[in-house]
């Protein structure tokens, strides 16, 4: 399944509630994602929660937008990405 980086802007900052509520918040997002076969891998948050870079596995960009809509999350940009592992090349050189 392709991997995507989803950039989001939260003008008031993203607030994940602490404790149980936070667990439930994330679990509900994950459950709603699963109906579209979308997996939220993890996110990088910047600028005090106003900006986030979220890593997703999803069948299509449309699936990401649909689940974003359902979860009430904004989408600025979706980019398809591949993993580049710097240490992989180091391993190759040693092997050679």
């Amino acid at each position: 399944m392709p991997r995507y980086v989803v950039e989001r802007t939260f003008p008031d900052g993203l607030q994940v509630p602490p404790g149980e509520a936070g667990v439930a918040f994330c679990r509900e997002i994950a459950e709603r994602n699963s109906t579209e076969e979308v997996t939220w891998v993890h996110s990088y948050v910047a600028e005090g929660g106003r900006k986030s870079f979220c890593i997703y596995d999803a069948p299509t960009p449309e699936a990401i937008r649909k689940t974003a809509e359902r979860n009430g999350l904004p989408v600025d940009r979706i980019t398809e990405v591949r993993v580049l592992d710097p240490y992989f090349y180091a391993g190759e050189t040693r092997a050679a």
Partner: protein
């Protein structure tokens, strides 16, 4: 091993007294079914449940338990249960399960369904039956094996399920659906329906397997390891009664069968060669005295009686037994079945069943006779996919056919394959038929076949060959006295030129067709020539000609002709952005073609609908429709081109990845056709995507060849459209002086882009607002940059602050209801407060729970409060 317990099916433990105790790990699924039924009983509006799971996971066991529980309910509100099962036949009998249910019920339903009715008539009859009594649980098992007509009925019934008090449950193997499985179409359509839900059965956990294994002397871990927790395998392995756990399902089944003794095995084999079950009289004919062992087989749980038919409890067991029958014995059994079913004890012989046994018995003459008959019957019911398969089966055994009979079968097969978008098969069959007709010196049929070949070759985009064949047909038929075949061939040639925007030639041949048609005075010819001429002069009264051709075709039973005219009309209306008109043609055309199994035309209409939604700014719907077409398409080029272009444009306008891949594929399909109607829209879309990327060279490359073709064909509108993109990219392109046509109406997005062509601040700002509103990120950025370059102030840099006014797609009314619900109010109170009927509030609450994916009101209010959908003060 001790045998204090008798094993039932798929994880069910049955105590020695025969009373079912518990179905392991299915309480959740049973609860969901009960809840769905409860919702139907409460609201009097029907629902559909799609029950998926792998083979042997216990779908049937679950549904039977659900039924048994219902049958224990003797109160007034108890639901009745109707039960139809699809059979694993290579070419299933059209409407098989629905016929069986109707026969059992009798009355008007049986009359309608038994009378060669079309799917929409059957669906209507079922809806009437479901409405007449209340309430009903209607189970359709194993719909992955269903024939096309049954699937059509399921789809049609589901579409209006909220008007009948019924819970429709369709079960299917979700691990066996290949990409173009016809069931996918139904699932896809139902996925968007509020009245449908999916239920998936998983395998058993190690704990459940251990519980099942407990009374036996087996290693539960090993049992779990070998069976993977598949309930059917677990039960068979335990019932096999060996000291060791069998390695495969097959070993388990066979050793269980062997324990019943030789006569019982003979009976099992007789049942195994009848995939849809066998009547008792048939079993007597097949197995003789061994029928006396039926009780043993039933008691052991291997066989089961449903109505009057004996069948295996599980298809996996039937397969295992069938595969183990020696080849000679198998042929002998099928031969006996064939003889017995030719003169059945009850009712008329069923050609599809006979064809099945004839093929397995290797009886070529019988295959020919029955497969052809079954094919004709399937085609008459709109089950063209099954028809094509039956004709193919007949042809495989066609060594003793005369040349003329063979040609006739090939022609029938070709037509059925064509109507289900299997162009390759249709073309191959027809090419063979042409050669045979030539051999027979049957010039009339040869010419008519060449004409049809021209029509079919066009579908996968082989336009040059298509035109050549159409010309050959005319040439050949002109050597004969002028007749209806020649008139049709003139029209077909006109249609080829019309599709290529070669209007003069199209009109000339169309006029020829009309003259001859009028002389011959034949209705089909009138229908065809009206459609042909309409397609040639779409901007000049063509719409009304096409509408008349549809009316005439509908009243005279020319189903495919009507569907074809719907396609031309819808395509033209969508292109001209006549949204209301387009919607009418699309809705009527889709109903018409899906009710009659005309898959090919349905695919075109679905693709056009997606494009129309894109033009109306409904991007999400457009992307859904286009994706559905891309999943379903087989060989025809146009639906693929339209859908790829639509989805590519949605992505381009949103700035999403994968846009260029889609548009490039569209171009790859369109280019070989050499037709402007195919190339023009793809070229414009690729130019737009390149422009949004700031790739001006890409705009030039994308438009070059299509523009040259548009100039050559003198298509003012396409020239204007392509020149506009080039100018936006700063490429000086003169507009020919004849290209002064009024452009087709633009959609809001395109209007905004056009507004931004100038340098004045006010229109640029309006464009910016509109583009931001629809979420057109890349175009917004371009227009904002232009405004800043022109010195405008206060142009936002980042994405606009997004309001969450419509989270989860809740309407404002539903948000009001939700606020009161979260405040702990009951529906009656909410109804009072909002001045609504309680029923309406019920309906809103149901929709809210679905949209929030909450199981209870409590969950919904918790979600609402947590995500700030409602104020804390209620």
């Amino acid at each position: 091993m001790h045998h204090g317990m008798v094993r039932g099916e798929a994880g069910e433990t049955i105590s020695a007294s025969g009373k079912a105790t518990e179905l392991l790990e299915r309480a959740g699924a049973l609860g969901s079914l009960a809840q769905e039924l409860e919702a139907v009983l409460r609201s009097r509006r029907g629902r559909v449940v799609l029950l998926g799971g792998e083979a042997g996971v216990g779908k049937t066991a679950l549904l039977r338990r659900f039924r048994d529980d219902l049958e224990r309910d003797t109160t007034e509100r108890a639901a009745r249960v109707l039960w139809g099962a699809c059979a694993p036949l290579f070419t299933p009998r059209p409407l098989g399960p629905l016929l069986a249910v109707a026969e059992r019920l009798g009355g008007e339903l049986a009359e309608v369904v038994g009378s060669d009715a079309l799917p929409h008539e059957v669906a209507a009859a079922y809806a009437a039956e479901l409405r007449s009594r209340t309430p009903t649980v209607f189970v359709l098992e194993d719909v992955h094996w269903a024939d096309e007509a049954t699937l059509d009925v399921l789809r049609l019934l589901s579409r209006r399920v909220d008007t009948v008090p019924a819970l429709v449950v369709a079960s299917f193997r979700d691990d066996e659906l290949e990409r173009d499985h016809p069931l996918r179409r139904v699932l896809g359509e139902l996925a968007t329906s509020d009245a449908a839900s999916r239920l998936k059965l998983g395998r058993l956990s190690p704990a459940a397997v251990a519980e099942l294994a407990a009374p036996y002397d087996v290693d539960a871990d090993e049992l779990y390891e070998t069976t993977g927790g598949n309930p059917f395998f677990v039960v068979e392995a335990l019932a096999a009664g060996d000291d060791e756990i069998p390695d495969t399902v097959r070993d388990a089944v066979l050793s269980r069968a062997a324990r019943l003794g030789a006569p019982a095995t003979r009976l099992l084999e007789a049942v195994a060669i009848c995939p849809s079950g066998a009547e008792l009289w048939l079993l007597e004919a097949l197995a003789g005295d061994a029928v006396e062992r039926l009780d043993d087989c039933l008691a052991s749980g291997m066989l089961d009686v449903e109505a009057t038919d004996v069948a295996f409890r599980h298809e996996l067991a039937r397969l295992a037994v069938e595969e183990a029958i020696g080849p000679r014995r198998r042929v002998a059994l099928h031969r006996k079945a064939l003889a017995a079913l030719t003169a059945p004890a009850l009712g008329a012989p069923d050609p599809a069943r006979l064809a099945h046994h004839a093929e397995a018995a290797g009886d070529g003459t019988a295959v020919l006779r029955f497969a052809r008959e079954a094919g004709d019957r399937a085609a008459a019911r709109g089950a063209h996919r099954e028809a094509a398969a039956q004709y193919a089966r007949a042809l495989r055994f066609g060594t003793c056919l005369t040349t003329a009979e063979r040609a006739d079968l090939l022609e029938r097969r070709s037509q059925s394959a064509y109507l289900t978008d299997q162009s390759d098969e249709a073309i191959a069959a027809l090419e063979d038929a042409v050669a045979l007709r030539q051999e027979l010196h049957d010039t009339l049929a040869e010419g008519d076949n060449l004409r049809r070949l021209g029509e079919i070759l066009w579908c996968p985009g082989r336009t040059r060959e298509a035109r050549r064949r159409a010309c050959e047909a005319v040439d050949l038929l002109e050597t004969l006295p002028p007749g209806r075949e020649l008139a049709i061939a003139y029209g077909a040639l006109a249609a080829r030129y019309a599709a290529a925007d070669r209007c003069e030639e199209a009109l000339a041949w169309g006029a020829q067709a009309l003259r001859l048609a009028e002389r011959l005075g034949d209705v089909e010819l009138r229908v065809r020539s009206l459609a042909t001429l309409g397609a040639c002069e779409l901007d000049d009264g063509g719409f009304s000609k096409l509408e008349r051709s549809i009316e005439l075709a509908r009243s005279t039973g020319l189903d495919a002709e009507a569907a074809r005219s719907f396609v031309i009309l819808a395509g033209a209306a969508v292109e001209r952005r006549l949204h209301d008109q387009a919607e009418r043609y699309l809705t009527e055309g889709l109903a018409w073609s899906s009710e009659r199994g005309l898959e090919l035309f349905r695919l075109y209409l679905l693709a056009y609908r997606g494009r129309s939604w894109l033009d109306q700014g409904r991007w999400t719907d457009a992307a859904d429709a286009a994706s559905a077409v891309l999943r379903l398409r087989r060989t025809s080029a146009t639906p693929g081109i339209v859908a790829l272009t639509t989805l590519g444009l949605v992505r381009a306008r949103r700035g999403d990845p994968g846009r260029h891949e889609l548009l490039d594929e569209a171009w790859l399909l369109a280019e070989p056709t050499g037709e402007l109607a195919r190339l023009g829209p793809v070229a414009a879309a690729r130019a737009e995507a390149a422009w949004l990327d700031g790739d001006f060279e890409g705009v030039a490359t994308a438009t070059e060849s299509a523009l040259a073709l548009a100039v050559q064909r003198r298509s003012a509108r396409r020239v204007v459209e392509l020149v506009a993109w080039r100018r936006r990219a700063g490429i000086e392109t003169p507009l020919p002086d004849w290209a002064d046509a009024e452009p087709w109406a633009a959609c809001p997005y395109e209007e905004a882009i056009a507004l931004a062509d100038g340098d004045a601040e006010a229109p640029l700002r309006r464009a910016l607002d509109e583009l931001q509103r629809v979420g057109a990120q890349p175009a917004t950025t371009i227009v904002a940059r232009r405004l800043r370059e022109l010195g405008a102030r206060g142009v936002p840099r980042g994405p606009r602050r997004r309001t969450r006014e419509n989270p989860f797609g809740l309407t404002s009314r539903q948000l009001e209801v939700l606020a009161l619900l979260a405040d702990g109010r009951r529906n009656a109170e909410i109804a009072d407060r909002l001045v609504l009927s309680e029923r309406t509030v019920d309906h809103h609450v149901g929709a809210i729970l679905r949209k929030l994916e909450a199981r209870t009101r409590g969950e919904a209010s918790a979600t609402a409060i947590r995500l700030g959908l409602v104020g804390q003060d209620g």
